[in-house]
Every structure is written in C-alpha cells, then in structure tokens.
Symmetry: D2
Subunit: 341 residues, 4 copies
C-alpha cells in the first residue's frame, strides 16, 4: 500500500500517518520526494487492505492511498499458474476445447424444454441452460415455474445426457436447486449477494458467476473469492455485458474482459452474447468474437419459438440459428488452435 | 406500445405483427407513414408490457418497440398526486421539513454507537443509522456485529429517542432485523433482490430503498413497485451515487435524480452524500446541494474517530463536522422555503 | 416522429401541439389511447427532425418525443444496400478481404519510420499509419514532427509502396496534409469537429473516422454524414474504444459496434485494438475478435522499440509481435470465410 | 511516479527498469516489498510524466505505473492558494458573489436577442450568452447566423451594458469572434481541441471552458493548462453534464465536480444546468444545487418563445422563469454566505 501525502503536508501530519500505521502493527517506509511525501506500508495482509486503506484516507494531509497488490488471492493467476479445468458430466471447461452451452431463458413447458434440449444436443451444445426461478425487473412479469421447472430440467437431462446449468436466486432455494443443478448460475444482479456466494462455496458443485452490470473486473474476482474461500474452487467467470452510455444494444459486451481475466485469473472464462448484445441478429458475430478472444465457453439462449417466449424472446436463437452458430464457433476455435468440446 | 417496422418491411411482415398482437388479445392500430410503418398496440396492461415488448422485437421486420407508459404504477405520481408522507417515531419524512439522519456505517461497539447517537441527536439529526450486517466487497473485511449490533442500536434508541435505520441484507435475517429496526434499509447491491423486496412489502415498516449503482431511475421505481404491490407503500427513494467513468470521487452523485424522482413519483426522496461522494471533505457541499435540489432527507455517516472506523472511515464526518453540516442544511432549507424536521 | 403526451394532458394542450405541428407545415395524426394521447407527425424531412423534436418537447403537456427514423441518411444501409468498397493504392477496403494497417503512433525519426514501414510491409500490412501532428492531453508532451513527419511518411511510402494513413488535426493543416496523405485520419477527439469534417467532405481522399470516446453509434453516423453530404462517400468507420467505468484497460472495446455498424451502414468498419485496449499484452486477442465479429480492417500501432517511443509506447507491438498477429488474423479471417487483403 | 512490478518479476527485469529510468536521467528508488517490488522514480518534471509513464508500462515485468503528482500545474491550487477572480465589464467572477449569465442558445434575430437581453438584465443576469456559430450533431440543423449574430450581440451589449459570452468553434473564426466577444466560450466538443486552446491562451480575454462530456476532471484541468501556459490565466471551468448510462435527463450533472474543482484548482467554477439537465422543468432545482455546492456562476439558456427556438428549445427558460430562478439563486447564495453579483 502506498500513501501519497498532499503537497506541502507538514511534518507533523506525516508523523501522524506513520504513527497510525505503526499502531496497527505495520511498517512505514518513507520515500524521498521533492514535492510530496510518499509512504509505503509493509506487512498488511490482503485481507485487511481495503479497510486499512479507507481509514488512512481519512487522516489529515493524506491525498490518496493506492493498493499495490490485488485484494483477491485464490482467484488470482498468482495463486496457481495452471488453468483451472472444471469437469461437469463428461465435459471439461477451461481446457483446450471451447464448450458451448445452450437453452431457453426460462423453462416454460415440458414440450418447449425437451424440444430445445434435443436441438442443443444435436447441434453440438454440451450443457443445457434453463431458468426455473427468474429475477424480473417488473413484479408483473413471468417469474418462472419454480420446482416444476427444475423437474423438467432433470427430465431433459435424462433424455439428452446434457448436464444442467440453472440459476440460484436466493439462499432459501439452495436445498431445492442443489437437488437438480449440475452447475449453479449466479445472475448478474446477484454477483454481490455475498451470503449466497458463501453458501455456494460450501457446496461441491461448479458455479457460473455472472459479472454484475457495473462491476469492475477486480470486483468480480473478489466475488469469486467469496465462493472459493471455503474450498469450492470450481468457479467460471462469465462476461454478460456491462452498462454504458450506448443504447444501440442492450448491454455493451466487454470483450477486453476475456484476455484480461485469462491473465489475471486461472479460472475458466465464459461469454454470454445473448445478454451482452440482446438482439438475435448480432449474437452470432459476438459469439465468434468471444472464441477468437480466448473464451473457454459460450452460453446462448435458444428457444423454439422466440415470438412466444415468456422471457428474453428478443435475444433467443431458433434451433437452426443455434446450429449454424455452433458451426461458426467450431471454425473460429480451429483458427485459434482449439476445438469445440 | 408502439412498434416501429424496418424501412421497406413488406406487407406480409406487417400482417404477421398485427396477427401476433391480435392473437395476444390486443388491438393493433396502423399509422400512415411514408418510409416505415408504425403500429400502435392498445389494451396491453402495464403488467405485461415488458414481456410483450421483448417478444414483438423478435419478429421479422420489426426495428424496435417503444413502451409509451411507464412499466411501474403504484410508485408513479400518476397514481397519487399528493406527496407520500412517512411517519417514523415522531418524525415525518416527505412533508415540508427536511429530515437529517446520521450514524456510523457499522455498529462497532457500545461506546462508539452511544457516543455517535448522542452527537447525532444533539446536532439535530432525527434518525439514527447504523449497520449490523455489512455487505463487504472483500470476504476478508469486517462483516458487522450481527444481532449484537442490533441490540446496541436498540439501546441507543432507548437512550436518545432516535428511531433506527438499519440494513437488511437477506431474507434470512428478516425476522431478526424486524424486531429491532424502525426503518429497513435496502442497500444498493440489493436494489434488484426482488425476493427481499417482496418480503419487505409484507411488513408494516418503512423501507429506505437505495438506488443500484447502475440502475436507471425507471428501474428504481420498478424496484419500489415490488415493495408496494402487496400493500407497503412506505418507501423512501435514496440516491447514493452512480457508477461513471470519473474517478475523482467514489461515485457520481446524480443530483438530477432528485427533481426527476420528485416529479415522477410521490414517494419521499433522500440523498446519501457519504456514499455518493465518498470523501469527507466534499460531503458538506453535496449535502447542501441535495437540499437545494429538493431532497426530503439527507443521510450521513458519522463516526467519533474515522481513522479507527472498521468501515467507511474515509467518508465519515466527525461529530463536530456533522453538527456544522446540519446548521448549513438548515440555512439552505430555509432558502428553499422549508425547515429542518 | 411520435409525440407522447403526459397522462391526463387536457384536450387544450393536445390541440396546441397539433396547432404547432400544422403551423410548421406537417400533418398530425392522433392515435387512440386510454391513458395518454400519442400523436404521430408526418412529413418532417430528416434534415429537420432533431430540431423540431427538441422544440416540441418544450410544449406544455408533452412527455417526450421519439424520432422514428434515423437522423442520418447517406451513411445508412437504407441509402444503398451494397457495401461501399474504398480503393487506396491497390488495396480494397470493405470488400471480402480484411485489411491490416500498421505503423507507429508518431513519426519520430527517419530510421524509426523506415524500419517500421518495412516490418509492416513484410508482415502483410497493406497501409502504413503514422502521426505527424499529435493531439496530446498534456501541453508538455511531444506534439509530433509536423511537416517533417509528413515528408518522412512520403519517403516510407516510396520505399515500401504502402499508402499512408495520417491524422489531420485542424482545418489549418488541410492543404499541407492533403499533399502527403492517402487516407485522412480523424481522431476520436475530432469526431464532432464538424467544420473539419465538412472540409474533408470536399476533398477526394478517403477518411478514416474514429469514434468519439463517448459517441453513440448513431452520432458517429451523423458525423460521417457531415463528410458525405458534399460528395465524399469514402468514409471508414473506426471503433477505437469507449469510455466506461472499468479501468482494467485504457478504454472498453465496443465489439458490439462492429455488427451493428455493418447492419446500419454500408461503410467499411475498422477496429483499432491499440487504443481500444491500450496494453500490448491484450491487443492480439482483441484484434482477432474484431475480425471474427466482421471488421473490414484492423489498425495497429507498431514500434521497433516501444520503451523509447515518444507516445503510446505501452500499446505498441514490436515488429515480430505484429507479424505474429497478422498470421493469427489470417487464420481467423479464413474461419469466417474471408481472406487478408 | 511509482512503478509496480508484477508479482515474482525476476531481478533482471527490475534491473532493466532501473536502467531505463537512469538512462532517462532520473533517480530510481527501490522500496522493500514481500510480494512485489515497487520502484519510485524521482526527478521527472510534470511536463514529461505522461510520456515517461506510458513508456515504462511497456517494459517486461511492469504491472502498472502510478503518477503521484498531477499532470497539470498552472491550474492547480498548489500553484496559487488564492482564488482567481476574473473581471469582465464591471463583474467579478470567482469572488464572493455568484454571477448569473443568461441568453439564448443561438442568436436567431434582432428582436429575439434584444428581448432576451433586456429580460436577462432586468432579472439580475450580469452577462449575456448567445451563439453565433453552432456545432450541431446533424449537418441539416441550423448552424447559426455567423458574423450577423456577432453584430447583434454587440448591439445587445450596447443596449443593456451586459458583456457577451459567445462560442468560438474554430481557430479560423478567432479574429472575427475576438472583435466582438468579451468572454470566449469553448464548447464541450472542443475541450480537447488543443490548437484552439493554445490560440486562446495568446489572447487577453477570459475563456469559459466547458468540460467534455466524458472528460475526467483531471483532463479538464490539463485542457485549462493549454490555455494558461502562454500567459492567459483567465479561465473559468464549466461543468455542463457528463455522459452516463441514465437517460432520464439529457446528461448527468456531475455536482461532485464543483467542490472537487474548487479544491483542486484556484479557477472559478461555473455550472450550466441547461445542458447538464436538458429539460426546462428540472433546471431550476439543479441551478439551486449548483449554488449550494459552491459554484461561482450559473449559466442558463433563456428564450422568449422556446417552442419556436431554432436550437435547444426544450431546455430554455422563458424570461419569467429565468427571473424566478434568479430570485431562488439569490436566496440560496445567501444561505451559503454569498450574494449574487
């Protein structure tokens, strides 16, 4: 941690800062400087950095405090140099091959789900996504089928062999969802629901963690830390678009996030073009871009009849569109030295 | 709802859109147009607008769909023209007088809390804020005292007569927090925790709803709708800063939100300058701006010794600073024809 | 144009709006509506839409005004269905093959430029970029070599056969820069320098128009309109990253912009990963993503010795890194059915 | 400047960084550190910081480079502790009294301008604003009256005694505009038009510098530096709203900017609520907030008949609305210990 004093801060203020640092049990190290004093703080462990830094900023004469090392640890590439590979059913996520996941936004009916599941499977998808509990901006929108939806997902898994990715909205639902899910999805709105993350960290199932719509990448890695700290290291980091000033698309795909997360972290990185773009017509291009940028997986919304979908119809691919996209992803994966799982 | 067709969309596509609209039971109304067709949809109730709109966007030939009326109702100024006034203890929030709330970010100890509570009371604060459960970005930071913190808050209320505003993090904690709180605070990270909002809507206590850091004002009013739909109309809308590109301050205070929310909604509007600025030195100016812009209340973090605070030290006011700010707010309130409660 | 009245707006206000519309010479068309009146305005030509819309918004009882068709015309895909192909030297931009452009941020010396130009040529680059006039955030930074830089660019063109892309900062420099440039580059800070755009529209040379760091795509197309309206239709649209809340990279690459611009416009679309990412290590991934998403060209900063570069050293590729990237782009282009020019 | 090495960067990389620093003629100072090395660089003057920092970031093993002191100097509060007071006609801007400026967006006609000028004067406005050259997003919108507009402004000054603030769009227009203007306005789109800024720095007239819509405050102070470096220190910093994700208002007023700029800089700070909000109905509240937050001036658009305005009708105040706002600003100024000039 580095403390930058205000220009011309008197010696007494510098001494106060040093005294506070030492009172907390750390070492202060003053740098020479002409205009302003810079003080390095040694010995602060990661777990305390955010707190100590904010407190030091309240002292008179302090301009700002810069944290040198990241406030996350287990999710960092510094913790382990090798890519984490997560196994779900027979599929490996985070290895050399790119994994495609598909399915409807919401499970709506047995027929809708089974038709979609078979289409996903036949096209080359390796996991089936589908929501049984839906967080909806409006309280008057369809909220999902609940347990009935989970049962249909299990039936679709039975019928196709595809493992299931489904959203867990709330700690209340954990026992129920845990009975059915192969992968827990944490939605963007819940990226900072720390209690939920901690509880998932005590399960033994992989977690697909979606980035909050205005979360910095650093904050996403701190959220992963909540899941990992009690031992569940099977976390996938999912970029799903961020909120910006541009309204041409529903969100802005932060494609930079893919190489950055791959360097900062050893965890698999997934792209969700359906949410990050939000319009069917532009989704294939962004899915291809995700693979070209180094994503380990692509998750796509598929619906047999988008104009009748109870949610996200405008960003769902029809089965034949999905099938075409998978072919394109296979070609791009080949071009960057990978295959499709 | 208005559907804008792509330029040159053939008649058959227009007919399909009309057919879908009528299949759903609504009336389609075609506007004349030279370049492109515009179709108005009549009869869609608010509760279905978001869904229908997204589905229609998936149809061939549709350029985009615009929703004419707001997707919220109970929180709208159109629902009731009079300002909602919320009574907590003897204090009225949303009436002519501006209410100041103060207290520490986290309850840390009996001594810290009581000292702060008395200071808040003596300076003219009318509610005491303090967190017992803290959502922290890092899993390694102080997470609050839990029930012990709530008991201390109750003791401070006893000692000073100030009603308590405290955060509810999770549905799990509701029975416990409900025993102690006078006002439930919903933090920015939880603005879209719809299940929590629904449960709070079934209590009879006021809710201070903080805006999500990248929530549009419209989305904030939809979140209020989740609380209000089962009968709890005691919701305060709290601006606490949004996420933008500028890093001079911790967040960007969206001061525009104050007059906009006052016009769009009948609910009281509160400003939280501590979070929206994040640095003690600039908080008084923004608190004054909030009152000048029409806020019904100002909520401020106060700590007897910010450099030892376990959270938010860098944005806490010392008791004497808080007292000075209250005096300034009284003067500005007078200038805009209001008093301090 | 569609005017949405406030809920409960009295008949007299509706009549006023209609009267203003008719006074301006247009036709008003009232839609039936239960809660609020919607009025369509017919006959307004594109050139007046922005103005009329803003004026109508000032009338009593008007909630908001929505423009139905785009406020740009010549740059729209509706104007011409075929892709515009721009020819520079022997290179076609906007056709089936993807074009790679490379070169230093600033021309610094004869040796630096020639070494880079040969490296770009040998690696498969088809245009040479290099700045002679540099807009720098700090007045104390290197501002470019000026005419001397242009002469060196001409010499490099002579030596390698590569056409030159160079920035025009100001109308003052137009005669001089026009003597040397094959393609005028308009920098992001100048996207709304409308006088410069108009002057470029009266030349017969292609323009590489960079997107402003907070310009909506719609605004970028309006900027292109300024160049095109007097007859110069040779405009390339260049995404170079937008400003967002995330600070992991210098800007956020708006990869969505690529398929959106390709659909909305017939103009060639270029991606500049050097600026949109800002760190050498992540540039190759984003360049590949650009080609996968459908970009017609990629422009990259190349420097023989980035640690001695007078500008943008941190985002320049060394010649051998550039060469490697070109190979990767060739593979990705092949995967999406294109080649490298 | 502080260089943070990557964790585990080998000694050889640290040595390379030190060698580069010393080659440039500065002193390197290594800090002890457990996980990662931190190197302070001493002796780099402000004028070189941005450049050197970007180059050092390109070296192997460097994680990032942090600049300790600001890359601006003359505009900094550290340069001079006293507030700069700018005199225009008999008015002082930046002193104890708050200055109100008003006038139309564009000069449209003699009658419109004179009527507005008298209304501004009578209501208590002290400067007259009005544009003769207008930058318009669409090439088909009204672009201003040009020299004719300047002449009308001079006539209005004659008639009312109010000094004139008018926009300078381009270096080409400088001789002409300099003949008429009392204060040059630099529009938001031109904040980084460095050549224009430099030329204005060689005049002896005050400059009202508007913040770019996505410029950080630090960048705004660097832009001021371009004007100040050749001796013209009469710069006013004008907040006019920034671009964010929220679309409830045209821009987001960054009210935090006011106290931050007042602390970081000695220059007067002005707020432009007309652009920062964009809707007449909410402008008064934001103007009051600006004064409460410490602005030295408020600039407002006034038009006798907004529904006929050729630009910005939707954000103009009618004369009687302007007069009412001035009264409110007088009251708020009094509440914060100031008067209206």
């Amino acid at each position: 941690m580095v403390i930058i004093m205000q220009q011309g801060a008197p010696r007494a203020q510098v001494d106060d800062v040093v005294a506070v640092i030492e009172r907390e049990g750390f070492r202060a190290f003053e740098n020479p400087g002409v205009e302003r004093k810079v003080i390095a703080v040694l010995g602060v462990v990661d777990s305390q950095k955010m707190e100590i830094s904010h407190r030091l900023e309240s002292l008179d004469g302090v301009e700002r405090v810069t944290i040198i090392s990241e406030p996350y640890k287990l999710s960092s590439r510094n913790y382990t140099a090798d890519n984490t590979v997560i196994r779900v059913g027979g599929v490996e996520i985070g290895g050399n091959d790119v994994v495609v996941m598909g399915g409807p936004c919401s499970v709506e009916s047995r027929e809708q789900l089974l038709e979609t599941a078979h289409a996903v499977k036949n096209a080359g998808g390796r996991l089936l996504r589908g929501g049984a509990f839906k967080p909806r901006t409006s309280p008057y929108s369809f909220q999902g089928l609940g347990e009935e939806g989970l049962k249909l997902l299990a039936e679709a898994r039975e019928a196709t062999g595809l493992p299931i990715v489904t959203e867990i909205l709330d700690p209340f639902d954990l026992p129920l969802v845990a009975e059915y899910a192969d992968v827990f999805q944490v939605g963007a709105r819940n990226m900072s629901n720390f209690r939920l993350l901690e509880l998932l960290g005590r399960t033994d199932k992989p977690v697909l963690l979606k980035r909050g719509p205005c979360a910095k990448l650093r904050e996403m890695l701190q959220a992963a830390e909540y899941i990992m700290k009690d031992g569940n290291h099977q976390v996938m980091l999912c970029e799903r678009g961020i909120v910006t000033f541009d309204d041409a698309t529903r969100n802005t795909t932060d494609i930079n996030a893919i190489p950055v997360l791959k360097q900062w972290s050893h965890l698999p990185v997934i792209l969700d073009p359906s949410h990050s773009v939000g319009y069917t017509r532009w989704i294939p291009a962004i899915a291809r871009a995700g693979v070209a940028a180094g994503a380990d997986g692509i998750i796509l919304e598929v619906h047999p009849n988008p104009s009748r979908a109870l949610s996200d119809g405008g960003q769902s691919l029809r089965p034949e569109q999905f099938s075409k996209v998978v072919g394109e992803l296979r070609a791009v994966a080949g071009a960057v030295g990978r295959g499709l799982a």
